[in-house]
Structures are given as C-alpha cells and as structure tokens.
Amino acid sequence: MNFISYLKKDLICLFNGIDKKKEAINKLIDMTAQKEKIDDVKGLRASLFYREKLMSTGIGLGIAIPHVRFKGVKEPVIAIGIQPRGINDYKSLDDKVIKIVILIIVGQNHHKEHIKILAQIVSKLKEDNNIDRLSHAESPDDIFNILTRKK
C-alpha cells in the first residue's frame, strides 16, 4: 500500500487568500466533501477540530497533518493545500510557520492504513528538498508531480 495511490489532483489546491488555520482546514474539508462521498460532513469537521483542540497537528518543518479516523469512510482520502506565505495561527511543534497542510481521513477501523499513510507522507516530505519545493509550487499539478516523483 502506498499513499500515492490515494492522491488525487482535484483534492490538491493552493490556498489563495487563506492564511488562517480554521479557514485552511475548512477549505480542505469542503473540497473533500464536494469530490468524495462523505455522509456526515458536520461530524467530520467536528472531529477534526476536536483533534486540533487536543493538540495542534502542526508537526514542524512547516508541515501540518490534520488527520482523523472516521466512521463510514471506505477508502483513505488525502487532501492537500499549500500557502507559500504561511498560515500564521497554525501552531507547530517547532514554531515554524506552516505552509503545507495535508488532510488525511481514513475509516474508523483502518488503524494500520492510518499510521502507514502518515508515516509514508512524513518520510516523503523529508526526502530531498521536497518541503522547499512544495512551498514554492505554483499549481496542483506541480504538487502532485513533486509527491509522485520517483527518487
């Protein structure tokens, strides 16, 4: 299983004009709700923000990975948004400004997929200069290509 097989170009966007954490996450949720079949969008939103309340998902190096296991989700969903200017109020473990937000939604019982996708994405981002490249990506296609590029 590789996270790349779950990447979809139409779930990748540039956060034009969005520089607040709440708006950024909502934007990714709305985008997902449009393209994917989510039964309970309200509940999904609530659980994502509940998780943020427990601890911010800004994991450092400018990356945030809001993630949740959610009832009724059949296949993992990955939605990505980039804000080169940074999202100022997104708290991060290393206090660096968050520029890349990757939303991950998996089924409630998909414990293993959940961890695997997270682990693969983190290691993919750490490869080469991927973080830097993504921060300067100009289109969803760019982002998709960076992430799917073989070493």
Binding site: R51, H111, I115, A119, V122
Partner: protein
C-alpha cells in the same frame, strides 16, 4: 347462547383439573417456598404447607383421586432423589468414611428401631391390653422409624450449598439407612403377620422376600446405571444426556414397581454405579439432572402435604404418635451420637449429626402404605396415620434442624458451582482497578512506557473530565512500530479504538458475560453513571476469577475434611 353451551360441552372437567391443578400446585408451591425462604425456613416446608392448604385437610382442591393420578410424578421424583443421593456415594468417600458410616448407621437406625418399638409397644399394650396387636404395631413402627428421608434433608443441603464432612456423612447415612430399614421392615412384617394373621404364612417365603427385594433393587439400578454410563460415553450434548438419564431413571423405577422392589434403593444403586464407573462424566450428568428437578420436587412435596389428613385424631392414635415421635427422635439423637463417638468422627459430626436425621418421608410413607395393604384395617390405618402425622411434624422441624447444623458446622456455601458464582457476582468483584489511566492527549512515547511498565492488554482512554473516550490495546500500539517518527505528534486519541459497550460496577457478571458473547468482545470498560472511567474487565480474567474462587471454596471444604483426621 349456543356458543356458550358449545363451550361448556367442550370443557372436560377432569382434564382441566389435572393440568390446571399441576400448574396451580407448581405455582403455589414455589410461592410458598419463596415465602418460607424469606423467613429463613427451608422451602420444602413451604411446599408441604401449601400442599396441606390445597389438600384433604384444607380446601380439598387436590383430593385423593388427583393425588393417585399424580402418583407417577411422585415416583419420578423419588427416583431422581434416589439417583442424586446415590451419586454422592463415591468410592473415595466410602473409603474415607466407610467405618464411620457403618457405626453411625447401625446405631442411629437400631436405636430408633428399639426405642420406638419399646415405647409404642408399652403404650399400645397399656391402652389395648392386646399383646399380639401391640407387638405387631411396635415392630412395624420400629422398623419404619429407622428410615431417614433423603429428600427433605438433601433439599436443605442443596439450598444452602453445603459441603464438608457433616454433609457427606448425612448424605451417606440417609442413602444407606433405607436399606437397613427395608431389612428390618421385612423381618418385622414377617413377625407381625405370624402374630396377627390366622392364615398360614409361608415362613420360607417371608425369609427370602427381603433378600429378593433388596438384591433385586440393587441389580436393576446397578445394571441400568452401568448401561447408562456406557451409553453416555458417546454423548456430550446436554439435552441428549438429560433425556437418556431421565429415561433410564424412569425405567429403573418402572421396573422396580413392576417387580415389587424398592424404587428408591434401585435409583440409588443406579446413582452409585454411575458416579463410580465414570466419575468425570457423571459430574456433568448429575448437574444436568439437578437442573431438571425443581418442578418435580415442588410437585412431590406439595403432594406429600396434601396427603396429610390432620383432622381425624383419636386419643389412642394421638398418644401412640407421640410415643413414636419421641422414640424415633430420641433414638436417632442417641444412636447418631454414640455411633459418631465410637467411630471417632469430628466434633462437628458428633455435635450436629444427631439433628440431621429427623426427616422422614418417602420410604416411611411407602412402608406405611404397604402395611395398610398387608394387614387388617386397625393396624394399617393406625400406622398410616402415625406415619403421616409424624412425617408432617418432622418434615416441618427436620429441615430447620438440618439448616442449623449446616450453619453451626460452617459447611454452608461451600458447594457452589461455577454457575452459582457467576449468578452471584457483580462486575465490580473482578474489576481491574489498578490500570493506569491514559489521557487522550497522551503522546505515543508516554503510552509506550506505560505499556512497558504494566502487564495489562487493554487500557481505557479518557478525556480531561475522566470520561471514557476509547480503549488502547496492544494491537493498536503495535501498529506504531512501523515508524518511530510519528511518536512525538501522535496521541492516544489517534490510535484508540471506539468503545462498543460499557458496563457499570453493579452490572451482574452474567449480564457482562452475555455482552462479551453477543458482541464477541475481549474486554469491557467499566464506567460510572456519568461515563467516567472506573476500570476494565477482561474476558480472560473472568475464567481466572471463577477458578480462583472455586479453588478457595475447595480448600475451605478440604480443610473441614482434614480436621476429621486428628
């Protein structure tokens, strides 16, 4: 109107009576039993009193005709009682208590026999001045007096789950003294016949009759018991075992009836053979049969009560009854005590055994009925009345004394089964309280260290208000071993499992077991009314708990047995 007549025509009063009455009997008997149990009197007494109320001495709802109709049920319950009692006579028990049983048996039986014979003989002669009649009455009553009824006695043992040397001894004695009583009765009836009857009695026949009766009963019961234990070797389904066992019991009592043998003795022989031929399998068999017995027992005891006619006492019969009662009780007390002393039994047996042998029912009543068939009316009716009345009195007081003896000797509650334990336990009795709480905001690194410091497999996860949010299992944590990179930003919340079901501390264990089964769970979080985490129940711990508790009572009972050998 036509319809009304049609309905009336359709009602068969007899069918209506017998089935409805059986229902009423079971219902009323059980309620009576419950009421008496509430005031700490064994349920048997309640059954019998309900019997008196609805029987010939009371409302006469259950009359002699109905009692006769229900006789087969009585036989069946006597058969089951005999079978269960026989099951207590294991080879190991006989070996351990053999000598003691023998002494006590001979003494309590013979003392009751002699004392009753002397007292009733004197009283009868003083009143009737008829030597033949008096001696006949006296030997017959003496022989009947030696029997002790297993039914009411064992019922009390079962009710209070008793176990220990006293229980074993009483069960052994009540199982064996019917045989003694039958032998004595066989000879007594020969003597009485010779004294009373003008008809020529075939002495040879009278002498071998008892051997035929006892030997035949043992043969039937033992033989069919052996056959049953061979058959049951191939079956493990409970319903089959039940059907085969009850079927065999029915055959044993039916054959004994046909061949004029003692059905109680035959059923006992069957139990003895079963328990000794295949001890392990029989444990299951006896368990299954025991579960089947309650309705039959209730019916049996209610019918015993309804047979009692307490309203036609004459002075002669009254005083004779008193003599019989005093002689029997005194004889049992003295005999049991001497027997216990001579056989070096434990103090508990010496002190309390004498109070466990008062009960008298099936065998005594059966013998009394036999007397009424074999002897002229005067003797027959007198003996029937004496036995019925004294049975009533001892059945009322007998169980009370047995109960007292069980509690004084501390043998109560030691004979519990796993089902009893489950029925009487609550979730909180086996709740694991020492599980360290995991907060949902706890990072994986911290959870790993908790797992490494404790042995639990499941940890409840709670929020900052202590409310249960989920559970983390070792499997959830194992997934994290894919990489250590996530450990510092993944939380308990991210890896916990949702809660499927919870229980309260006061939830009965049986209910918790149902939930485990129905939802196929391995653990159940325990919460209070506000869903705050209190602990966790692991399904594997239930087995441990039950085994430990069973072992504890086992040891307690074993200790009582060991005190035996000083």
């Amino acid at each position: 109107m036509d319809f009304f007549h049609y309905v009336i025509d359709k009602i068969s009063l007899l069918d209506l009576n017998i089935l409805i009455l059986m229902g009423v009997t079971l219902f009323g008997g059980t309620i009576g039993g419950r009421l008496f149990q509430k005031i700490k009197i064994p349920q048997v007494v309640g059954y019998i009193i309900i019997g008196i109320i609805i029987g010939g001495s009371g409302l006469n709802v259950v009359d002699d005709k109905i009692i006769r109709m229900l006789e087969p049920f009585n036989y069946l319950s006597l058969g089951i009682i005999g079978f269960m009692i026989g099951g207590e006579l294991k080879r190991s028990v006989l070996k351990r208590y053999g000598k003691q049983f023998f002494y006590i048996l001979i003494f309590e039986g013979m003392m009751a026999f002699f004392l009753v014979m002397i007292l009733t003989g004197i009283v009868a002669f003083l009143i009737t001045k008829d030597m033949n009649l008096s001696v006949s009455l006296a030997v017959l009553l003496g022989a009947i007096a030696s029997a002790t009824a297993p039914a009411a006695t064992t019922d009390v043992f079962w009710e209070y789950k008793s176990r220990g040397p006293l229980t074993t001894t009483v069960l052994g004695i009540v199982a064996l003294d019917d045989a003694l009583s039958l032998v004595l009765f066989a000879f007594a009836s020969t003597i009485a016949s010779t004294l009373i009857s003008k008809v020529h009695i075939d002495t040879w026949h009278s002498l071998i009759a008892p051997f035929y009766e006892i030997g035949g009963s043992l043969l039937i019961g033992g033989g069919l018991g052996y056959v049953l234990s061979r058959i049951l070797k191939q079956y493990s389904e409970e319903d089959r075992i039940l059907v085969f066992s009850i079927g065999t019991i029915l055959m044993v009592i039916g054959l004994s009836l046909t061949l004029n043998m003692d059905m109680l003795l035959a059923a006992m022989a069957m139990g003895v053979v079963m328990t000794n031929v295949s001890p392990y399998k029989s444990k299951l068999v006896f368990n299954i049969v025991e579960r089947f017995t309650p309705p039959i027992y209730v019916l049996f005891f209610v019918l015993v009560g309804s047979k009692l006619k307490i309203n036609n006492i004459t002075f002669f019969v009254g005083i004779l009854t008193l003599a019989y009662f005093l002689g029997r009780t005194g004889g049992k007390i003295m005999g049991a005590r001497w027997g216990a002393i001579l056989s070096h039994a434990t103090d508990n047996i010496k002190k309390y055994l004498p109070y466990c042998l008062f009960s008298q029912a099936g065998v005594a009543i059966g013998l009394a009925i036999l007397v009424s068939q074999r002897f002229p009316e005067q003797i027959g009716n007198t003996i029937i009345f004496i036995i019925m009345t004294s049975t009533f009195v001892v059945q009322l007081i007998g169980p009370l004394f047995v109960k007292m003896a069980i509690f004084k000797s501390h043998e109560d509650g030691l004979n519990i089964t796993e089902e009893d334990l489950i029925r009487n336990s609550l979730v909180k009795d086996l709740m694991e309280k020492k599980i360290p709480p995991i907060l949902e905001t706890m990072p994986i690194t911290k959870i790993l260290s908790i797992f490494s410091e404790h042995d639990f497999l499941y940890y409840p996860v709670m929020n900052n208000k202590k409310k249960l949010e989920g559970v983390i299992t070792i499997d959830n944590l194992k997934n994290m071993f894919i990489t250590s990179e996530l450990n510092y930003f993944m939380l308990a919340h991210d890896i916990m499992e949702p809660v499927i079901k919870v229980v309260l501390p006061q939830t009965p264990l049986s209910e918790a077991l149902d939930i485990f089964k129905r939802y196929n769970l391995e653990y159940l979080p325990i919460v209070d009314q506000h869903s705050r985490v209190l602990g966790l129940l692991e399904s594997k711990n239930i087995k441990h708990y039950i085994n430990r508790k069973m072992l504890e009572t086992e040891q307690k009972a074993e200790k009582l047995h060991q005190n035996q050998k000083i």
